[in-house]
Symmetry: D2
Amino acid sequence: MDKSKFKYKTQVRVRNYEVDWQGIVHNGNYLLYFEVGRVEYLKHIGAKLDLNTIRGESKVVLVRNEIDYKAPASFDQLLNVYTRISFIKNSSFAMEGILEKADDGVIIALNTAYHVWLDPATDRPKTVGTDFRKLIEGFEGNDCDILWPTYTV
Amino acid sequence: MDKSKFKYKTQVRVRNYEVDWQGIVHNGNYLLYFEVGRVEYLKHIGAKLDLNTIRGESKVVLVRNEIDYKAPASFDQLLNVYTRISFIKNSSFAMEGILEKADDGVIIALNTAYHVWLDPATDRPKTVGTDFRKLIEGFEGNDCDILWPTYTV
Amino acid sequence: MDKSKFKYKTQVRVRNYEVDWQGIVHNGNYLLYFEVGRVEYLKHIGAKLDLNTIRGESKVVLVRNEIDYKAPASFDQLLNVYTRISFIKNSSFAMEGILEKADDGVIIALNTAYHVWLDPATDRPKTVGTDFRKLIEGFEGNDCDILWPTYTV
Amino acid sequence: MDKSKFKYKTQVRVRNYEVDWQGIVHNGNYLLYFEVGRVEYLKHIGAKLDLNTIRGESKVVLVRNEIDYKAPASFDQLLNVYTRISFIKNSSFAMEGILEKADDGVIIALNTAYHVWLDPATDRPKTVGTDFRKLIEGFEGNDCDILWPTYTV
């Protein structure tokens, strides 16, 4: 992943109960840190979108997660969580995350989370909303690969 | 606590991510095991009651927890969770729990969880439902100290 | 609890995965927030003491937790966690905590956590270390009720 | 994934605190259920191997997780966790998992977890141990694609 493409960063501090018997963060927690990043990102850009929650005419669900573990984080470390939306296709989009140690920039883990936009009445994929596309285009600019629905006919 | 008064037992097995850097269960998990016991207990006796959830005319909230930690549990251990309702007063009741190792009966922790019955419209305490009292009386018999509302006038 | 006696405050922000099906923080998390407070408190005062971890000649274990739930916290709320040591007896000490909403000061929960100082070789209680008593006395002053060992003969 | 290739199954029951505000299991927990499957699998086949833990001359680390979310699990559901080792290369191996509802076989999620065998002295990859290869070959037979080190020269 290319860190220069990430325009949003938040931070989490490792809590003591997240550390396992080896004194390092249990691998299940990295996924949660990336989720903190995604929620904060959406709040930051003003998206009227709760991931996984029905909001009026649409529902967004997480369909796939990929996590690469690069180095362990330890108790009480402050971590940077970089988040961006890397692409929007017809009915799906991907959010990428980089987790690194705040003090020395050592990469802890990388994540790509794939989401699908559903019609809550049928649970079938529907086109990602235009408002959302415009919001992401405004924030991410050319760094996000957006396929506009008119192009998909 | 007097184990002979407990009429319901369920079991939990310690999962690897519940174990901390000392190889023992992180203290926050014991509380969760007791909650598993309470949920299973209510299901077992057929109580139409979700703890902490509004169900028609009533809402039940957890107001206090007391936990005594006696010995640590370890990875992969099978634990017995004994649960009972020890008293019902006018608008409150208490659930007791004993957590022990299934293989040798060593006590891990003891819990008392105090609940209050609320009117969901006002969030003020109301009398514990008669159906619930009868259900508990039928299951617990004389081992549960039940104060019937007529006695409280 | 008397908030004016607390000299240390840290903060936690509610993470989305800590919220349950009612949109409020699952009760098991409050205990974890108080633990964050205790760990930060000890770090802040410079105590060479990891709770629950053996450090040279001593081991400190959590033996009892009492939590009173006053009001629910919700997703994304910033919470203040006040922590203090309220007493030190011969081989035990208590840490109190107040959890409140940072924006309006509404009390979420209260906690008292009792610890015992053990000899790691025998797992029997031993006198709380003098260095630790002095450190707490220096930080808490008269607000902590310290029983000095000479008084216990 | 081809379920007929899986020779080991364990089960987990969804606990109430694993369920989020929509009444379904928070996505972070599926990863933990798969980990329960991997730990039980290794115990079942008798592998002298703790994932992520140093054991004598070797250390095994999780380097990548892929999870596809197919359908949500709900409170109190009993879930089957199928686990197998799908390949062993020179210094790496992959564990696959299928999570399904026990009552109707509906697929909840799929997982592939990639591990690397390290020399604990240098933290550099080393050849997967022969004892481990033989153990997996004996259990998985032709369903596991094993690259023997002699083939890699």
